[in-house]
């Protein structure tokens, strides 16, 4: 089910004590539809759509959440505009 793959992000590097709610909270304000823990400090999170995945990766990947933890957020979504973007936009 390829369509669902673009809704997920892999999140890792957060503090070990977080449960699924804590992981969902890391990605505020993006809408989390599901969290699956895949290890002590890694999880697969389903967001609402590819645009939220794209923005969450941009916003949270590499973010320092405290002195000892850097968030790693990776998604499978690449921006694919049908026509190239004007230079004044991102």
């Amino acid at each position: 089910r390829g369509a669902e793959l673009e809704n997920i992000v892999k999140v890792s590097g957060y503090p070990e004590h977080l449960n699924t709610f804590g992981v969902a909270q890391l990605l505020t304000p993006y809408r989390v539809n599901g969290v699956t823990m895949t290890g002590p400090q890694s999880a697969v999170v389903t967001l609402e759509n590819k645009f939220q995945v794209f923005q969450a990766v941009k916003e949270f990947n590499g973010k320092q959440i405290d002195r000892n933890h850097v968030l790693h957020v990776a998604g499978n979504v690449a921006s694919s505009p049908a026509v190239s973007l004007p230079k004044n936009s991102q």
Partner: protein
Amino acid sequence: MASSSTAFYLKNSGFHVRNVPKEWNDWNLFHVFEQFGRVGYCRVAVQSQQDNAVQLGFVNMLSVCDADEVRKALSDGSLIGEGYSLKVLDQKTHSHQ
């Protein structure tokens, strides 16, 4: 929660977009609105009639604050950029919602 005609959306954060260039897809529309804030949902409705030079779009921002940033950027209801002039209208909220 009362259901809207199509899908759930956050009140005062949705926009109807007219005048979307025909060759655009959802990513093009997304990148225009992304400049103002977080986008919750975005789509381009392909129009069925031929020889139509424009199409329709729907954008929901993730919060009312983000939507207000879009409203601030509007000049007379339009978002104008290089090669486009989008007519942006607030998504209508019906009284029963």
